[in-house]
C-alpha cells in the first residue's frame, strides 16, 4: 500500500513539474511573439503603432542605429526601433513626371505620411480607403503618400491608384529618412513643429484609424479650440454620422437619404 501511495506521489510531482515547465515555455513563446510585434490579445487592435510624447518626438533626428530590421509580419511592418523623431520634409518625383517638395512642419494641423507600394497586398486596402480624404476626430488630415522612386515603382501604376486629393511623392530618400523598412507604414506628424505624433502600421484603414486616434490623444495633440474629449469622440454624434455616411459614399442630397421605403 505504501509503495502504491509513494509511486502516486512521485507521479503527481513529476506531472506538476511537467505542467509548470509547459506553462513557462508557453509564457516565453508569448513573450517572444510580443517582442516580434504579435499581440495575441483578441481585443487588441490589429496593428503595430506607437505614440510619441511631444518632448520625446522633438528630441533628436534618426540615426542609422535607429532603423529597425527589415521585418514584416503578415504584411504589417514593425515600428522602427529607437525613439520617435522629428519628421523630415518629403522630396521626390511625382507620378506625372514632375517633382515635388512637401514640408511637414511650420503649418497647422496633422499630416499623415503614408508609405505605400503598388505591389503589396496589405497596401491595397489603404489605396482604396484614401479615395476618401482621411479624417481624425472629425477633422480632415492632410495626406501625403510616399512610394519608392520611379526606379522601383511604376509611375503609371502609382498614378492609377493615387487619390485625387492626396499628394504623392516617389522617393527612396523619404523611406530612408524615416527609417521605413517596408510598406505599408505610416507616420503622423504635428505640423506645428514637425514632431512625430505616432508611427507604425496596421492591416487595414479601420485598424490604423483607431491607432492614429489613440496616438494623437496619447501625445496630447488637441486641435485648435477642441478638447481631447472632442478629439476622441469625433466632436459630436452628428459629425460621426456624417463621417460614416461619407465613408459609405453617401453625401448630403443623396437620394437614398430621402427615399421612402
Amino acid at each position: 500500500m505504501n509503495a502504491i501511495v509513494g509511486t502516486l506521489v512521485i507521479l503527481v510531482a513529476l506531472l506538476s513539474v511537467l505542467v509548470v515547465g509547459l506553462l513557462r515555455s508557453h509564457a516565453e513563446i508569448v513573450r517572444a511573439l510580443h517582442d516580434l510585434g504579435v499581440n495575441l490579445d483578441p481585443d487588441a487592435p490589429d496593428g503595430t503603432f506607437r505614440a510619441a510624447s511631444p518632448s520625446v518626438a522633438a528630441s533628436r533626428r534618426p540615426t542609422v542605429s535607429d532603423v529597425g530590421p527589415d521585418a514584416t509580419l503578415e504584411g504589417v511592418a514593425l515600428p522602427t526601433s529607437g525613439r520617435l523623431v522629428v519628421a523630415h520634409d518629403l522630396a521626390g518625383a511625382t507620378p506625372d513626371g514632375g517633382a515635388a517638395v512637401v514640408s511637414v512642419s511650420g503649418r497647422p494641423g496633422l499630416t499623415l505620411v503614408a508609405f505605400l507600394s503598388t505591389g503589396c497586398g496589405t497596401c491595397a486596402d489603404f489605396w482604396s480607403a484614401f479615395r476618401t480624404p482621411p479624417t481624425l476626430g472629425g477633422e480632415t488630415v492632410r495626406l501625403v503618400i510616399v512610394t519608392r522612386s520611379p526606379a522601383a515603382e511604376s509611375p503609371s501604376s502609382v498614378a492609377e491608384l493615387a487619390p485625387e486629393h492626396g499628394l504623392v511623392v516617389m522617393s527612396d530618400e523619404a523611406f530612408d529618412d524615416h527609417g521605413v523598412a517596408a510598406a505599408p507604414y505610416f507616420v503622423l506628424v504635428d505640423g506645428a513643429d514637425g514632431s512625430v505624433v505616432g508611427e507604425g502600421s496596421a492591416a487595414g484603414w479601420v485598424q490604423l484609424k483607431a491607432l492614429l486616434q489613440r496616438a494623437a490623444a496619447d501625445a496630447g495633440w488637441v486641435a485648435d479650440r477642441r478638447s481631447r474629449r472632442d478629439l476622441l469622440n469625433a466632436g459630436s454624434r452628428q459629425r460621426q454620422v456624417d463621417q460614416a455616411l461619407a465613408e459609405a459614399g453617401i453625401y448630403p442630397g443623396d437620394p437614398s437619404l430621402t427615399a421612402e421605403s
Binding site: 522630396a91 506625372d96 515635388a100 517638395v101 512637401v102 514640408s103 512642419s105 511650420g106 487619390p163 485625387e164
Partner: protein, 163 residues
Amino acid sequence: MTVLAAHGFALTVPRGWDARIRLPVAQSVAAPPSMRTEEVVPMGGTTNPILHATTMMLPAIVGDYGGGAVERLGPHDAFVAIVGFDVEAAKTALFARRGIPTLREANFRPATQQRVLAGASGTQSFFQAANRPYCLYVVVGRHALRRSVIPRCNELLRGLRFT
C-alpha cells in the same frame, strides 16, 4: 534645403515651402452634365511647364494660376506660380525682360489677381530665361501684411535656376 529639378526648372526650396513642378497634359474641359452635347469640347490649360510654390500646404490639385490654393492662403502666406509659354512667344515684346524679376511692395495690387479675393493682392510679370518665356504670378494672403511675406518670396525666387 532641398533642390527640386524638372522640366527646365531647378529650385532650391527654402524650409517651410511646398513646391511642385509639373508638365500638364492636354485635357478636355469637362462639360456640365446639363449640356448634353456631342460638340467637340475645347482643350483647357497650358501644356507648358509650371512651377508652384507656397508657404502653406500645397493642395493636390491646383490650377495653373493657383485656383484651389490661393483661396486657402493665410495672412502670412504666399503663392508663387511660374508658368511657361510656347517658345515662340519669347520673341514678343511682352517677354522682352530677361531674368526673373525681384518682387517689390509696389508691385502688389488687390486687383492683380486672376480672381479677386478680399484682403489679398497679387502681381504678375512676364520675362524670359534660357530663351524660354515665362509668367511670374504671385499672390499674398493679406495685402496689408505683404511687407513680411515678399522677402520670403524673393528668397525663393533667388534659388530658382532655368536649365
